[in-house]
């Protein structure tokens, strides 16, 4: 590639990045007046995107290697990946069957990513002899815990069925094969007082955290590296939730935190001189961001 062409494209990328970081919507970012020379360069490189007498570097086509090597090219290519996910999010939000599968999967991803910080005396009470044993069992219990949550909170009997629409749409879904020993899973349920937890958790909390964790999973699988790209995804996810619930991010966050506080208070163990929250619930049930 000619040096001048690289510089021209970088300037256009800078415009895009600056616009996005300045708060412009992705759809409105990076547009420049359609000059003939610019248009030719973009077309030659297969990067042309035009509209309304303006042009910009296409969000959908891969950048040439010379440009990818530059810092601007690197960020832009990451934002291209984010833009792809941004298109998927509202589709999930609008399709009830995809949405339920995504929420349940997301809830399971959240549990999977937790270290399950629980007070040790509860583990020993249930016959766990070491923390290693607990971690292994807790991780294997994700499916059971999620199934129980989906049944109790959303009335869903068979969560495996709920993942099928996602798979048909070539979207990721929680791996149902990952089921551990049932007895172990049941001990985990008892340690966590999971039945009491589910009595407390609100349906909306389940849906919000599930949905956001699912979107987060999409970002991880796409290999998003820049926080700025991650923000583009988060923005779309929160907007989708705001539209669906009619509540602001602030209200949604607050409701989730208060719900988890209730879980923590409800599962407190009373010791002789101190009160103990049996688990650090804000590290288990939580928003991804």
């Amino acid at each position: 590639m000619k040096k001048e062409d690289v510089e021209t494209i970088i300037q256009m990328l800078q415009r895009f990045i600056n616009d996005v970081e300045g708060g412009k919507a992705v759809e409105e970012a990076g547009w420049m007046k359609a000059e003939h020379g610019l248009k030719l360069i973009l077309e030659k490189l297969g990067l042309y995107e035009g509209g309304n007498q303006c042009i910009r570097v296409s969000l959908h086509n891969p950048l040439p290697t010379d440009i990818l090597k530059t810092p601007e090219g690197d960020i832009f290519s990451d934002m291209q990946l984010a833009a792809k996910i941004r298109e998927i999010i509202p589709k999930i939000g609008k399709d009830q069957s995809l949405q339920i599968g995504a929420e349940i999967s997301g809830f399971a991803y959240m549990l999977d990513a937790s270290e399950f910080p629980v007070l040790s005396h509860r583990l020993f009470k249930e016959g766990f002899s070491s923390l290693d044993e607990w971690y292994k069992s807790a991780l294997n219990a994700t499916f059971l815990l999620t199934s129980m949550a989906a049944k109790k909170v959303c009335g869903i009997e068979n969560i495996g069925e709920m993942f099928k629409p996602l798979r048909h749409s070539l979207l990721p879904a929680f791996e149902t094969k990952k089921q551990g020993d049932e007895k172990d899973a049941d001990r985990v349920r008892k340690v966590l007082k999971w039945d009491e937890v589910l009595e407390t958790v609100d349906r909306n909390t389940f849906k919000i955290i599930g949905f956001l964790w699912y979107v987060d999973r999409l970002a991880v699988l796409e290999g998003i590296r820049y926080p700025e790209s991650m923000m583009l995804i988060q923005e779309r996810a929160w907007k989708t939730l705001e539209e669906k619930t009619g509540k602001s991010i602030r209200e949604l966050r607050k409701a989730v935190i208060e719900d988890i506080d209730r879980v923590e208070n409800r599962t407190i163990d009373k010791g002789t001189d101190q009160e103990y929250a049996i688990a650090s619930w804000h590290e288990i049930l939580r928003l991804p961001w």
Binding site: I17, N18, I75, P117, D216, V220, M231, R253
Partner: protein, 487 residues
């Protein structure tokens, strides 16, 4: 710079720990049921940029006001000027600029050559050229590095006056000339106004100071009225007077507290912080100390960076909660509990200063009061203590090493310091005491190291393939299979 924020977010109602939490009747675990006890530095970070305070709280990135590569210079500069003024107050005036240079070289002889030469050339020399004559104003009533704290500092907002906790350290206070100085290495010869946020920093310190009740002053300062003090931001080139009655600063404080509360408690997250970021990849603030945390390029390798981030990020909030349980709660306890309660918790011993000579302080401590110090010494061999002269609200915090005990006389080594004329001495466990809590700053180091690990890597594949740590990460978090080589 203006930071816009949802108006409903301020003023913020601040949750202080309840009595049972203060008395440690609740197990220190999970998300604390109180808000942080911020420092002035935290507020400055929050006011500079929401992403800076996000990095501060979650990633252990310290002071966004100190540009990279300038750590330590400001401290050396401040320490030397304090030394110079203390000498001048004792009629030991430097005769000329070259005399000051000689004294500086001696004073900073332990520092690296570059730190020493940079500090002299860019900061001390310009300072001297303007202020050598002013040294005659130095007097016995100038004090340096005064620690201040209050759990209820009022900040006006319209008709309301909410209160927040705040703590900090004053660079210099001159009781005779009634002024407080914030000394900085920032600023240029051509400046017409103080360096950004330095006026806010000084104003916050003054707000805290003037909110402290007189009964908590060192005994002989009872008649001092800090409300009347002049506020001066001192750069190497200029002195700038800060206006105290400034509604913009009040509003700025509320916004900063709102960010701290929300980011610490989960009411806001990186999404909201990035929406309000004050610079970006194209218009990067090159003076920002959090620049690398924000703009370091996340290279292609390790390829499992997303998984690494997914696994690591869950540790950031709990690590901050740990700091709140270990350090912030302790700060609340010092200010909100009765001394008897602090004694019962095994934290506090009270004594009376007898003398301070050659870096050694002699105190009289009743046997009943001395128990916590003795327990620490005998059970874990701890001789380090945190000594507070004055009060927890307004005093001097010194690291003190127990040297000698004879009857009720305790001698501790504190280094050559100038302390206020107070007889009250309070001895607390050192910050590193294993008998108090785990050292809180280790959680900060862990946050910082984890964050660095997340961002670190290589762009070139060939290099990454040969790097054992990257390969290990690919194994632990990615899909690479680890195979042990046969010898």
């Amino acid at each position: 710079m203006v930071i816009f924020m949802d108006e409903r977010a301020i003023p913020v109602s601040w949750r202080r720990p309840e009595k049972e939490v203060l008395l440690e009747n609740r197990y220190k675990y999970s998300r604390p049921p109180f808000d942080p006890f911020p420092t002035v530095t935290n507020l400055i970070n929050a006011s500079k940029c929401p992403v800076a305070i996000l990095h501060d709280i979650l990633h252990g990135v310290e002071d966004a006001m100190i540009p990279l590569g300038k750590y330590g210079l400001g401290t050396l500069y401040q320490r030397f000027i304090a030394h110079l003024k203390i000498c001048a107050a004792r009629n030991d005036f430097p005769s000329s600029s070259s005399d000051i240079h000689y004294r500086f070289e001696t004073f900073a002889s332990d520092e690296k050559e570059k730190t020493r030469s940079d500090c002299w050339r860019y900061y001390v020399e310009p300072w001297c050229s303007k202020r050598l004559v002013n040294l005659s104003e130095a007097n016995e009533n100038i004090f340096f590095e005064l620690s201040i704290a209050n759990a209820y500092v009022p900040f006006k907002l319209g008709e309301k006056t909410p209160t927040y906790p705040l703590r900090g350290r004053i660079d210099e206070i001159d009781l005779k000339n009634q002024r407080i100085i914030e000394r900085t290495i920032k600023g240029k010869r051509t400046d017409q106004s103080p360096p950004p946020l330095k006026d806010f920093q000084l104003w916050l310190l003054w707000k805290t100071l003037s909110s402290i009740e007189k009964k908590n002053y060192p005994e002989r300062w009872g008649k001092v009225n800090f409300e009347d003090f002049e506020l001066i931001v001192e750069t190497p080139y200029h002195d700038f007077v800060v206006e105290k009655d400034n509604p913009d600063l009040q509003k700025r404080a509320h916004v900063a507290y709102a960010w701290i509360k929300d980011l610490a408690g989960g009411g806001k997250s990186e999404y909201e912080a990035y929406q309000h970021r004050t610079c970006n990849h194209i218009t990067t603030d090159t003076e920002c100390g959090a620049r690398l945390a924000c703009f370091r390029r996340p290279y292609k390798h390790p390829t499992c960076r997303g998984e690494v981030h997914k696994e690591i990020r869950k540790f950031y909030p709990p690590l901050f909660w740990q700091q709140m349980w270990d350090d912030h709660l302790f700060r609340y306890q010092l200010l909100m509990l009765e001394k008897k309660d602090l004694g019962d918790l095994g934290y506090l011993s009270e004594g009376r200063v007898v003398s301070l000579k050659d870096g050694k302080i002699e105190m009289k401590i009743d046997p009943g009061q001395a128990a916590p110090i003795l327990v620490r010494r005998t059970s874990s061999g701890e001789r380090n203590n945190l000594l507070v002269i004055g009060s927890f609200f307004l005093g001097f915090e010194l690291d003190a090493t127990l040297e000698e005990i004879s009857g009720d006389k305790f001698v501790m080594s504190v280094g050559k310091k100038k302390i206020p004329p107070s007889e009250r001495a309070m001895i607390l466990p050192a910050e590193s005491s294993i008998l108090r809590t785990s050292p809180w700053w280790l959680s900060r180091y862990t946050q910082r190291d984890l964050f660095n690990l997340e961002r670190w890597g290589y762009e070139i594949e060939a290099k990454a393939k040969e790097h054992s740590v990257i390969q290990l990460l690919e194994c632990v978090f990615g899909t690479k299979k680890i195979v042990r080589e046969r010898p």
